[in-house]
Amino acid sequence: MLERPADGAWSDALHGVFGVSTPLDGWNKEVFTDGRPPGYVFLDIPSKHAYRTSTLPQGVDETAVNVLHPAVPDDAGKSELWRRASEIAAELPRRDVPPGMRKPKLVMQSIAQFCTLRRHKDSTMPFAAAITKPLFEGVNFGVSTGPDPVLRLAARYMRFEVPGILARHMIPTLYETSYSMIPGLFNRTCPPVKVMLLHKAEQLSDAAYRLWRVRKTLNVSGFCNATYLGHLCAAVVASLGSNEGGRLERLMFTEGERNRLQRLRQNVDELGTHYFAPTFDLPARFQPGQILLWVRKMAELQRETPQEVAEQACLHPGLARMLADPDPRVLGLQAGTSEYQRFLRDAHINYVQNIADLPGLSIDSALKQEAAALRVNLHEFVDY
């Protein structure tokens, strides 16, 4: 992968997703063993394109679709990504870690607790049960400040103490439980739960969009923090808009309200797919210079401009602008040569220079900025 980043990244993506199954060009059906419903993925392998859908488009013959049985990993701790992260974490204490950041060893320990967590809502429940009670300690739902269970959970997520797959399902449950149970405990009245949930969905959708828009003006850590928090906000809206088990009917959303919620869900899902999810993929695998090589190679293969591929890969603008230099020699660089090492070193130096004057957005600042959207804010609805 390091010698031919584009080919390596594509193979990695295919094998990581499909395991030992053989995907074919055209429509493939993924059949899972962990209770998830099957999904469909259209592959254009020569062009390295893929897209997913929950149902086959009209006119596609299901009997002609290639069936895949993707490997469902039962322990993320055995993955290549974990191995690489462990190597980097071991290296970090020897360098300066910014103030306020936890020690890498502690971060890795937090993440390790969830290595066996599967990407399925029901599997998250035992993990959620273990961490819910402390979220409510000292919380006063009657005021706009002070501890808040959702803000606490979001902070833990931002510090890698709770994974996104858990936070995105817990937060809607925290909202629903707080809105439906707390007012009654204090003999207070409030609007139907659906009013508050729809309001939350609107606020968090705004927050996700806002964080996406602002991130391009920030330095790399600000860009990453905005993306990570934006992704959580988007994922929570997607969960709020889920009609699993007829939830929206049970909560008595009208047809119009359901449509609004589900359109918001679709919208943030697309925001997540196009602008949040790809952001960490290349930086997790490659150094900045290698990312530039990957992008150039992919652009050549897909007959697109490097800038178009950079946008698809959600590169930081400070890195993407280095693609403006159309030096054709870079594609011929061989890993391990002194020229290659010099290229990587120069790319890193230029990247640091490009972002030097940009403002940051710390985890605390990002959470403070979006606190109003995240907080339960029951006091806004309760009739005193």
Binding site: Y51, R52, R213, N267, V268
Partner: protein, 151 residues
């Protein structure tokens, strides 16, 4: 003369894919890649809805009505994936008429504000996030003002 194709080109680079997908898909359950033709269709829809509201605020009622009639069914056609190249050409022609009229009358901040408000509401009704609708509508103002000013 203010050029509609420039407006389409400039706004295309600002239109976010999430909004384009929401506008182009008939159902909130749909998740698929929208091709270039549908994407440009959504761009033209947004620009023309804005332009129609702008013309209405300027008091150019006959052209505003013509715009409303021309764009009324366009989103439904996009969502049904039934747009033809001739539909895109007709929308582009309609946009050109609007930009020419705005250029002749002169840009108006009040009309821009009214057009932004109308467009934002249309986009929210179609599934946009509130902040997304407002910012997209404002981007259209910026593009249209630049195109009209430049000509």
């Amino acid at each position: 003369m203010a050029d509609a194709s420039n407006a389409v080109s400039e706004f295309s680079s600002k239109m976010d894919k999430a909004l384009a997908t929401v506008l182009a898909t008939p159902s909130a359950e749909d998740r698929y890649f929208i091709g270039e033709a549908l994407f440009i269709g959504t761009v033209l829809f947004v620009l023309n809805r804005y332009a129609g509201a702008y013309l209405d605020e300027l008091g150019i009622k006959p052209l505003a009505k013509q715009h409303a009639d021309a764009t009324r069914d366009y989103l439904a056609k996009i969502r049904a994936k039934k747009i033809e190249p001739s539909d895109g050409e007709a929308q582009q022609k309609q946009l050109q008429l609007a930009l020419t009229a705005i250029e002749e009358r002169g840009a108006s901040p009040e009309a821009a504000r009214a057009a932004e408000e109308t467009l934002a509401k249309v986009l929210v009704d179609a599934g946009a996030i509130n902040a997304q609708a407002r910012e997209t509508a404002h981007e259209v103002t910026v593009v249209v003002q630049a195109i009209v000013r430049r000509s």
